[in-house]
Symmetry: C2
Subunit: 199 residues, 2 copies
Amino acid sequence: MSPDFFDVVTRQRAHRAFSDRPVTDHDLARLLDAAVHAPSAENRQPWEFVVVRDPHRRAAIGELMRRGWEESGREFERGRLPRALFEDVERGATGGIATAPVHVVVCADVARGLEQTVGSSVFPAVQNLLLAATALGLGSALTTIAVGYAHELAALLALPGHVRPVAVVPVGWPARPLGRPRRDPFGRHTHREVFGVPW
Amino acid sequence: MSPDFFDVVTRQRAHRAFSDRPVTDHDLARLLDAAVHAPSAENRQPWEFVVVRDPHRRAAIGELMRRGWEESGREFERGRLPRALFEDVERGATGGIATAPVHVVVCADVARGLEQTVGSSVFPAVQNLLLAATALGLGSALTTIAVGYAHELAALLALPGHVRPVAVVPVGWPARPLGRPRRDPFGRHTHREVFGVPW
């Protein structure tokens, strides 16, 4: 199987519901190997990945998501998100994402990398991980709601003080096939030479 | 041509020297189309791309890079970067990157997307763009040195106040072929269940 690059990129989609089919270490290794090939400031590779399979620990992460959603996310997003997306996010945050057999908690080591370059140095690796999941037919999503509870996540995962959680990526086989994502065509957000001159 | 996803991911490498072979709009369209398929918080797609071909404007961007390097980057990085990387970055910042026939200035619209989600919502798109360049055989790099001069970039590109430059991606055909990037194996930065338990 040789997944075509451009096909993978245009099929990537956030999954928030998963089947109970297990995900093998072999598959996870391919995702993580893709992740660490990403660029980073000074090539510091400040990423750290905690792979969580234990059901109690996953349930605890799921509870942080539910808490984040119920304490502030839901009211904030109501009216901001289109209805179908709101309902999908709500189902995900209140149980769907917790059903993924694996949670990859992506962290930044701010002793190894510079604090101000965490965004540019870790999200490219996260994107590689998500794309690699798509390439294998696995579902995944980029979620950040639980990292609002950095202290609780640190306690749950024994993170040292210099290792900050940045994203929680659920990985599992999709509960059902999803179509391609809805995006504006690139021309709507592309400018020639100066802002405002259309592509 | 059907570039294999995993081959593209493991070949991606920062290019800081380019040939004068032109880059077509058709190629750029494939890069930008890949970019806009990335995930973003609330699916807000807050990216804006300014595609710069004009040689004077590219030279001005190149001058901002040189200034950033000479005013602070060089002394900061001396001793932090391995010698070969230091010399490559120095050559890039003082002229190499300016030779790319195209600079894609990637921006975030903080009126459309939330300010605190710029990192998670724009760098995945940047990574798609870099990977798509690799898939086509084009060279590119994720650079942020010029965005330290946001005011100057805004004047040069007519950016409105709510549109912030996030990265400058040079795109061109590589001056010479580069091998695969040097990265730590993923197992060195992967933990099972809790931090410190090796993969």
